[in-house]
Symmetry: C2
Subunit: 372 residues, 2 copies
DNA sequence: CTGTTTTACGCAACCGATTGCCTTTTATTT
DNA sequence: AAATAAAAGGCAATCGGTTGCGTAAAACAG
């Protein structure tokens, strides 16, 4: 009897280096920073660690009462699962990686916010990385996220990215990749986007309906399909209203920055035949256009109507307030997380992409309101 | 001879469940998604895994040549360390946690950006969590970050936080906690802040020097020391210039939101003896004041000079451009990371906090420029 | 009262890197 | 040349949770 009890007591203690370890660990357990593991629960209740593990995740092969008892004891002891251990064993963490160009931009930080909210609600953590719009950084960050065994990634391409091979490592390991906004067109993946073409079409159409005849467009880097689609929407809207696109009014920028916008506006306004409207692919450049025009004494919207894209906070502050196109960043982040979490349940077919398209709307403010 | 070779070949293969495993693993290794581990390198070069591990981190007990050979082979085989395994063993990851109220705010997203840049440069990842200015979320997020074994955290308190016990778990485990901006005053930790008192003093002084006699202040929640210090700086500046602080001009807000600012401004302007200057604890409320004043036909800065705090992008867009106080968010993020990375080298004394204070400057723009 | 299924749980390998201690070999000292 | 020190590397335990397989006992069927 004595032996049986003794054996029982030792049954699930971990293999130890030293003979005296049992005593030592008892002492240890008095220290406050001792962390509780499933082995401690196992010892407490005389179950095996496997039973504890299963009970904690409500595995059906463990009895109802046992499960309850174990879960209560776990709570009583203040057990906190070591996710590193589980991740190592499963070769997958519960971290979602985010790969974007720059965190401190309104659209992106709202996107991240959306991802974070929904990820955390589901018990996942969020790892961020920014490439600073640099291709090499993007590749390095993709490696780093891969190495930390993220269970999925949300990505928006850098301005420089043309080759997307660095995402293939994820796809090969069946790690879901969700591209948002700036997405590649030739990779088997999830995509969460807006209909850039029709958004641009509607924005341009709005300017036309306000009486603009010569509408300029600030286009972004054309290898990024968001900007290409916006440009196409712009051109097709013009054509639909029998306006011949004028090459001089199509300004291709590389970053759509404040400076680029300012300079472009300056040139446009100095033309012998200046535009009476500008549709910018982002709000930053649009705001710079407004400020430059005002400085030059050009009346907005009477002489120059302006509409931007994104609905950044700036848009409602600038004067006159900037008309723009809504870009549901937060929502896009939430949907991206959803795609990743759902992915576990299904098998993605090779060569198939799942695309989620969100609605946008033209937000009309003073900068383009010429009628009435 | 035959046996010796055979033994040698098997020497470092992991313990396997099945007899036929050796063949099987050879087949496996042809699959492209086989991941290379130190065991593979060990087998390749006939060294033990421990030697590989040491060589890869340039441990001095491994010979120079051996180390070189191992590192080259590692590269050749495309070895990528499994940080989960290392983290489990060391009970610490190389993830830095960020705990803030809201990601999509200019100051915060720049702060995160600074943390991310410097962390990644040092080979660390960044985990984010936002509390939405809710105390319970903050506590839960702290738990989550703790559970994922971050090696340090950067935190800025939520508006609601009064009790900071949820940070003690980190300190007990010697995990460095760096508070930024909204810091507690009674916790043994690192802090990266600006001198809020003197920044506010200087901002208020600036308004006085521009001829303001009745200066109002938009104060934030007073249990957060940033806002309390700004209020104190404001009051002391007034006193220094023999202006008696008027209680009616001291508006305590809870969130310093656009709406709160608008409402407060409206009330102030309706007073029989309205203020001729406003020093706001943030730019959002300051901008709302400008807009509200303009709408009421109050001239800025002639009838009402306004200065904000933070230098958000909005500040230079609003018209007239908002004077404000710079808040080096990016820099603060970088310094926070630095504190965490340095922490490993030193021992923090119980009861001692290390505080880093950054310079700020008053940025004078049109909204407060009354002279000349 | 046997034979079969189900229930409930234990065993031990496993994930991959790290590290204290030990052994063997080589270099240095007296 | 003997003794000591230093260099180079291996052994095996360890971190903590997970899981395929095996088994004893209980429930059920016949």
């Amino acid at each position: 009897m004595y032996f049986a009890l003794a054996l029982n007591d030792l049954k699930f203690s971990r293999t130890q280096h030293f003979e005296g370890q049992v005593e030592r660990s008892k002492i240890m357990s008095k220290k406050k920073n001792k962390v509780v593991t499933i082995y401690d629960i196992a010892n407490e209740l005389n179950y095996s660690p496997s039973t504890i593990s299963r009970a904690l995740k409500n595995h059906k092969s463990i009895g109802k009462d046992t499960t309850k008892q174990i879960q209560e004891t776990a709570k009583k002891l203040g057990y906190r699962p070591n996710s590193l251990a589980a991740s190592l064993r499963n070769n997958r963490s519960n971290n979602i990686g985010i790969l974007i160009a720059r965190i401190n931009r309104p659209f992106i930080s709202s996107l991240i916010s959306g991802v974070e909210n929904s990820a955390r609600a589901a018990g996942y953590n969020v790892l961020i990385s920014q490439s600073d719009d640099n291709y090499k950084n993007e590749v390095a960050n993709a490696k780093a996220l891969y190495d930390s065994r993220v269970c999925g990634i949300v990505a928006s391409l850098s301005m420089e990215t043309k080759n997307v091979d660095h995402f293939k490592q994820f796809i090969e390991q069946d790690i879901p990749v969700v591209f948002v906004d700036r997405v590649p067109s030739d990779l088997n993946s999830y995509r969460v986007i807006i209909d850039n073409y029709s958004a641009a079409y509607k924005a341009t159409e709005h300017l036309i309906q306000q009486g603009c005849k010569r509408i300029a467009h600030f286009a972004g880097a054309q290898h990024l399909n968001v900007y290409k689609l916006r440009k196409n929407g712009y051109i097709d809207a013009l054509k639909a209203y029998d306006i011949t696109p004028d090459k001089d009014l199509l300004i291709c920028m590389s970053t759509l920055s404040f400076e680029e916008g300012k300079e472009a506006t300056s040139k446009l306004l100095n033309m012998k035949n200046p535009p009476d409207g500008i549709f910018s692919s982002n709000d930053t450049a649009a705001v710079s256009a407004i400020m430059e025009a005002k400085q030059k004494g050009v009346k907005i919207p009477e002489e120059l109507a302006v509409i931007g894209f994104n609905d950044d906070p700036l848009a409602s502050i600038v004067e006159p307030a900037l008309s723009t196109v809504s870009h549901p960043a937060m929502k896009m982040g939430e949907l991206s997380t959803k795609r990743i979490l759902e992915h576990a349940d299904k098998k993605m077919e090779k060569g198939v992409s799942e695309i989620t398209i969100l609605d946008t709307e033209v937000i009309v403010r003073a900068s383009s309101k010429r009628l009435k």
